[in-house]
């Protein structure tokens, strides 16, 4: 099994089921049997760490390290270090994390949905071509620009997935969503119009003067 096959959505799901830490140990760069598997693993896990940091979880709970199968001592060092780190951080949702308990659990649910959704997976999949060979027009991006784009997506996708999670409970107005999720209502409005345009949300009815929106189930 290759570290490149680790799906970030599964990682988030494991944490939302109460996991305290996850150490991924892959091969050294250049040693990969599939050539770029470990590069992909690092890109995906780095992105997942950024997302965890954004939702208020200590991102050191997830680590990517490298060693070869012949290096027993190095492996011991890696595990010892991670173990010490994790003991210092403590159990999930306690003192070691910015966001605590049930709220973190809810955030992790949304994070799982973000990582399972198409958008972020497409973008992270395009990382290597964008940084190395460029797009169709030969425009190459810098890592700095790419990370900035990823950070934007993380912030927006988290809010969008929280909105969708709330709409799955039933149709809501923009004001209700804004109050429930503590997102400014003009942002909620922009997300809802964008979701409408994408065909993921539709108008349910108009109650008084507020339009009420409902979710459109997506075919997978």
């Amino acid at each position: 099994m290759c570290t490149g096959r680790i799906d970030p959505a599964i990682v988030a799901e494991a944490f939302s089921k109460g996991l305290d830490g996850l150490l991924v140990v892959g091969c050294y760069f250049g040693d990969c049997h599939y050539i770029t598997g470990n590069h992909q693993a690092k890109a995906k896990l780095d992105m997942t760490r950024r997302l965890f940091k954004h939702i208020g979880m200590n991102e050191d709970r997830l680590a990517f390290r490298q060693c070869s199968s012949g290096e027993g001592a190095v492996f011991v060092d890696i595990v010892t270090e991670f173990d010490a780190n994790l003991r210092r951080i403590g159990p999930l949702g306690a003192d070691g994390d910015r966001v605590k308990g049930a709220e973190l659990h809810k955030k992790l649910e949304a994070a799982r949905a973000v990582l399972a959704s198409e958008k972020i997976r497409w973008v992270i999949g395009k990382r290597t071509p964008f940084l190395e060979s460029g797009n169709m027009y030969g425009e190459i991006f810098t890592e700095h620009e790419f990370n900035r784009a990823i950070d934007m997506i993380i912030v927006e996708e988290m809010e969008v997935q929280e909105i969708l999670a709330s709409l799955r409970q039933g149709a809501r107005s923009i004001k209700e969503l804004a109050n429930e999720l503590t997102i400014p209502s003009e942002r909620v409005f922009r997300y809802i119009t964008a979701l409408k345009r994408k065909g993921m949300v539709a108008l349910d009815r108009i109650a008084g003067q507020s339009p009420i929106f409902q979710i459109i189930p997506q075919e997978v």
Binding site: E118, K119, W122, V123, M136, Y137, I140, F141, T142, E143, H144, E145, A149, M152, I153, E156, F189, R190, Y191, T193, A194, K196, R197, K198, G199, M200, L203
Partner: protein, 557 residues
Amino acid sequence: MDEKSVLIVGGGIEGVRAALEQATSGARVTLVEKYPTLGAERIPRDRLIQPGEAFVNPDLAAVRNHDRIDILTCSDIQRVRKDNGTVAAHILKRSLRVDNTKCTDCKACIKVCPVNMFDDFDEGFTFRTAVDYFNPATGEYNIFKEDMPVCQRTCPVNLDIRTYVGQIADGKYLESLATIRDRLPLPGSIGRVCPHPCETACNRQYLDEPISICFLKRFVADVELNEGIEPVYETPDEKFPEKIAIIGAGPAGLTCAYHLARKGYEHITIHEALPVPGGYLWVGIPEYRLPKKLLKREVDLIANMGIDIRYNSRVGRDVTFEDLRKDHDAIFIGAGCHRGLKLRVPGEDEYEGKGIVDCVTFLRDQALGKPFDVKGKLIVIGGGNAAIDSARVGWRMGFDEVYILYRRTKKEMPANPWEIDAAEHEGVILQYLAAPVEIMGKDGRVVGMKCIKMELGEPDASGRRRPVPIKGSEYVIDAETIVPAISQGTNLDFLGEDHGLDINRWNTFDIDEDTGATNVPGLFAGGDVVTGPDIAIRAVAAGKKAAEGIHSYLRSK
């Protein structure tokens, strides 16, 4: 032209109506619209109005099908030029970036598009994605890509600032330097002296402060220097045989030579009147702002591309302009502005060289290490960077007191504020609202200057308040040396007579802005000799533009 042709900018309801009107009256119409579709056509699918009830401009179909109307969507007017009673417009048409013949309208791209941006169709009220359809009827998709970032657009050479700053953030210093050198062969020098209009425009200033674009350039140039890497500027294997002469080894001439050599010209000769390269970068900008060693290194890198730089070869003295024209296929004139303008006050001519030295000569003699009789007080007249440089250089030479006399106030000074602050910090005394009236001398030497106090009146054409003399407020300051630094002009004597070039009333050339070509075929000009005294990066831009102009001139000959 027999047929009347009309250009209509803007494809809104009015534009469409006007286009139809002109076409019906028999004109050939080109309709230019910034967005991918004509106005009022973009009906969002999510709107509350049912498609059947929506207002659709009945003129649209007529405009689309009219055989006398050409519609250019995704297009912008770049430049408009008047030409013998006609008007020529440069139009930039952008790619849709989507192959609509292969599009099946599945909207998957919209769902995954990572860029949420404010929708300009409704003035930023909602989000749209960078990839979007504009007109459900035609189903045409496009990817919106913003034009150059504001810093790149402001930079005269359009340096790819976003990329090179990003590469520095990634820690790829040498790649960053290569990005800069693609357009600018003098990163270390310009990175030290540029007044960076890009930073003035930088969007980051609205958050905290602008990105230090200029010094980042210096930083990567210094990384290469400190690591002892000696780069080689590549030239292509395929060479062109034409001979090109360049007058002046300043930023414009060097850049022109660099870009021509990169295109494959191997017979490039630069004639430089001084024994040193760099033009104003060497003899105008003091050592403390730009170390000569560093400038020399960057010039050598350019010279190593096979460019022959002949020092002490003043055109008009050591070689005539006619000979140059005979021997070369194209000439680039980048002679700069090396003549200090006169104050035009009594006594100035009388004591020329006896205490009165214009700033160009003053700075040049210092840069070339000529001895100077340093004693007593130095007065510099003017408020530009040349004045500040002269004063700070004078301070370093050891004058007892150094004054800068400026007729407006600090707020109106054209010099860079950080230079003014540095001068003040070093101990240069700035006197505002004062202007020279008469140079006073005794026994053939300057002993002082009569000045008059000014006050600020109404704003003039430059938007700055015009200084007005206060009657009866004359006073005298003692001074042994006076340096007028009010402005610089060109010296075109080297052209000789019968050169046939159009010279305008500012004693500069009128050139074609796209190619740098003068009115005489084969003669190109750029830099301060065209613009008057200006910043180095604009001279670099002119040199680059002229190199492209020369290339297309020689290839189409």
